[in-house]
């Protein structure tokens, strides 16, 4: 088994599905000859030709809007948006059309497609290249929002996303793209969409996270372990649908919760998780749930981005706070 980073793992998943299913096609800006600005689609045009890995005009609304048309007429488009900061022009198509077509046509038309995009901060990128807007997407009925945190999951989830009968927004934490290498099977496999993963078992506190925050949370938890705090870490892997059972079971055991996300705090998904904990496990709690998140500000440029992003130290502070309550 080869060790791969997340870029290579997603690339492998795309390649396998394109080999298996001639309906799978890649569209987006710079996805063809260039192979994507992060090289996720590298080699696909060389291997499958100009008609299956297609460079499009520079127009995000156009890319996802035509993807709907392709999807309702026999193709399985995997559209790439270059950065999540450039998602907004495409939101109209996602909100008003892609997410609703199954419902509007009472199942007559469906939209099996994937919209991939790198998201999140921490790589010293320019303005509009560091945003985390997953809660905006999770708020839209009719689309699923998947976020891998490791190369293994990324491959299994992209394959599952392509095969899913509904539209999937596939958010790739760009900070992790080349930061982790791990064993990724050569075989074709899937990771189920909507299943969280317990990354570390512990009885004292539950830390819920996703995307690039998983690594930060694991570091924080190692520091907490030195203080005798035994934390359980859960990677949601999809924020819509959310795997409630996995974290609720953990909460019932630990009675203490810290939620970590790099998106702004207000109306972030931490709020939704707290609501669900309150609805289903309120009486298990021994402390108010703590959120360690980005702030309610524009994502700052590089001089201040580390101040904005939740760090292991800030997460540890959150863990200590719920433990001390």
């Amino acid at each position: 088994m080869a060790k791969r980073n997340m870029v290579e793992a997603i690339n492998a998943g795309l390649m396998e599905e394109m080999e298996k299913d001639p309906a799978v096609m890649i569209i987006g800006e710079d996805v063809g000859k260039e192979g994507g600005v992060f090289r996720v689609t590298d080699g696909l045009q060389a291997k499958f030709g100009l008609e299956r890995a297609v460079d499009t005009p520079l127009a995000e609304s156009g890319i996802v809007g035509v993807a709907l048309g392709l999807a309702i007429n026999g193709f399985k488009p995997v559209a790439e948006l270059q950065f999540m900061g450039f998602l907004p022009p495409a939101l109209d198509q996602i909100l008003n059309h892609i997410s609703r077509i199954r419902n509007r046509s009472r199942g007559r038309y469906t939209c099996p497609m994937v919209i991939r995009m790198p998201y999140g901060g921490g790589i010293h990128a320019p303005e509009h290249h560091s945003e985390s807007m997953e809660s905006i997407l999770a708020h839209i009925p009719g689309i699923k929002v998947v976020i891998p945190s490791t190369p293994y999951d990324a491959k299994g989830l992209i394959v599952a996303a392509i095969r899913d009968p509904d539209p999937i927004l596939f958010l790739e934490p760009k900070r992790v793209y080349r930061a982790i290498k791990e064993e990724v099977p050569e075989d074709n496999y899937t990771v189920p969409i909507g299943e969280a993963k317990v990354l570390r078992e512990g009885g004292d506190v539950t830390v819920i996270c996703w995307g690039a925050m998983v690594r930060e949370a694991l570091r924080a938890v190692e520091m907490a372990a030195e203080e005798g705090i035994n934390a359980e870490v859960i990677d949601l892997r999809a924020v819509s649908p959310m795997d409630d059972n996995t974290y609720l079971e953990s909460v019932r055991k630990t009675a203490r919760v810290v939620i970590v996300h790099e998106a702004p705090k207000t109306c972030g998904l931490g709020a939704e998780i707290i609501a669900r904990v309150n609805e289903k496990a309120l009486l298990s709690l021994e402390a108010p749930v703590e959120r360690v998140t980005g702030y309610d500000t524009t994502f700052p440029l590089t001089k201040m981005e580390q101040d904005y992003l939740p760090s292991p130290e800030r997460i540890l502070r959150g863990i200590r706070k719920v433990m001390a309550f």
Partner: protein, 359 residues
């Protein structure tokens, strides 16, 4: 001129030929001294650009979008504007911005990752650069509309690239400008590539300039490496806008010699032969040849120009690097006119965290 050169007939305005020869009948009213000054600014921009790339490689500056090859398009157009006109730039407009009075120090500071670099001086009418492609022409149209309503005799100029013309917002901006006859100048630098994607994949139309026709106003294609053609077309479009003639689109046909930004490698998507084809059309060489014919350029003068530019650039680097780092929590301060209670709480918590860490 902007109405006589018809993009649908493949007519492109060129005044200064690549060999330095000039179409005297079309030559704009620029004194030799002014041409020399503009040439100096073009050299300055090229060297400031090279310095930005060097700083990026040394890790002293972040991702940067170079101007190399587009100096005439930026200098010629910016010089044609009036002092009170506004500019709405995209991210590759270091040349335009410095021409309009944005200190080079500020531009470096921004790409070094400090938002203060986008705080344009009070007397300079340049909007912060727009990174989302093709989204800002609408702002120029709105500002121009306001100028029209307020009776201000000014023009609003928006700069964007060939890639930007594919975005929906670009079309909406053109349409609004046509409908409300706003004094807007759409200045497109067609540098042939949107990162790796060639111009022919942006549109099946033969020119970008002809898009204006569909919105009810004139579009003209000019040789973007020709300082005189760019200046003349911009000046005329501006005068037209000021006299109530509405918007114009100028497509400056040019070439990006460098990468899209410091983050990509152009050899992956274009051939050396293509780059070589454009080299004789270099905007600096062309202006230099013109000046040489007039006895106004020599190796010695060039050396002196470069030394002067390098000194100015070095000072800008020193000023940018010596600029005080942001105060802790500065990023909270500019969200609203006043901190909301929620933001205040978040900022206090952040500062408390820093204190606990011992900073």
């Amino acid at each position: 001129m902007i109405e006589t050169f018809d993009p649908l007939k493949g007519e492109m305005l060129m005044i200064l030929h690549p060999d330095g020869r000039c179409e005297e009948k079309l030559k704009p009213d620029l004194t030799d001294e002014t041409v020399q000054t503009l040439y100096r600014r073009m050299v300055f921009i090229r060297l400031a650009d090279q310095r930005a790339l060097a700083l990026q490689r040394q890790g002293r500056l972040g991702t940067y979008a170079p101007v190399h090859g587009q100096e005439a398009a930026q200098v010629g157009s910016a010089y044609a504007l009036g002092e009170k006109d506004w500019v709405f730039p995209s991210f590759r407009e270091m040349g335009v911005c410095t021409m309009r009075g944005v200190p080079l120090k500020d531009i470096y500071l921004y790409w070094m990752g400090n938002e203060m670099g986008q705080k344009v001086p009070e007397n300079v009418h340049v909007f912060p650069i727009s990174i989302p492609v093709g989204s800002h022409p609408l702002h120029a149209v709105g500002a121009a509309w306001a100028a029209k309503l307020r009776g201000e005799k000014i023009c609003m100029v928006t700069y964007f690239g060939d890639g930007g013309t594919s975005e929906g917002d670009f079309h909406e901006a053109m349409n609004f400008a046509g409908v409300f006859q706003t004094p807007t100048l759409f200045f497109c630098q067609n540098n042939q590539y949107a990162i790796s994607v060639p111009r022919k994949i942006q549109t099946a139309a033969k020119t970008l300039a002809q898009k204006a026709i569909a919105y009810g106003f004139h579009g003209v294609q000019v040789d973007g490496n020709d300082l005189f053609a760019v200046y003349a077309a911009t000046k005329e479009a501006r005068e037209k806008a000021l006299s109530g003639g509405g918007p114009t689109m100028i497509e400056a046909v040019t070439f990006r010699f460098g990468p899209h930004t410091t983050a990509d490698d152009p050899t992956k998507y274009r051939t050396d032969a293509e780059v070589d084809e454009w080299k004789p059309r270099d905007p600096l060489l062309r202006t230099q040849r013109y000046l040489k014919k007039k006895g106004l350029w020599s190796e010695e003068i060039e050396k002196e120009i470069k030394e002067e530019a390098e000194a100015e650039i070095t000072q800008a680097v020193e000023d940018a690097e010596g600029f005080p780092p942001p105060k802790p929590g500065e990023f909270f301060q500019y969200t609203f006119a006043e901190l909301t209670p929620n933001l205040k709480e978040q900022m206090d918590d952040f500062l408390a965290f820093l204190k606990e860490k011992g900073n």
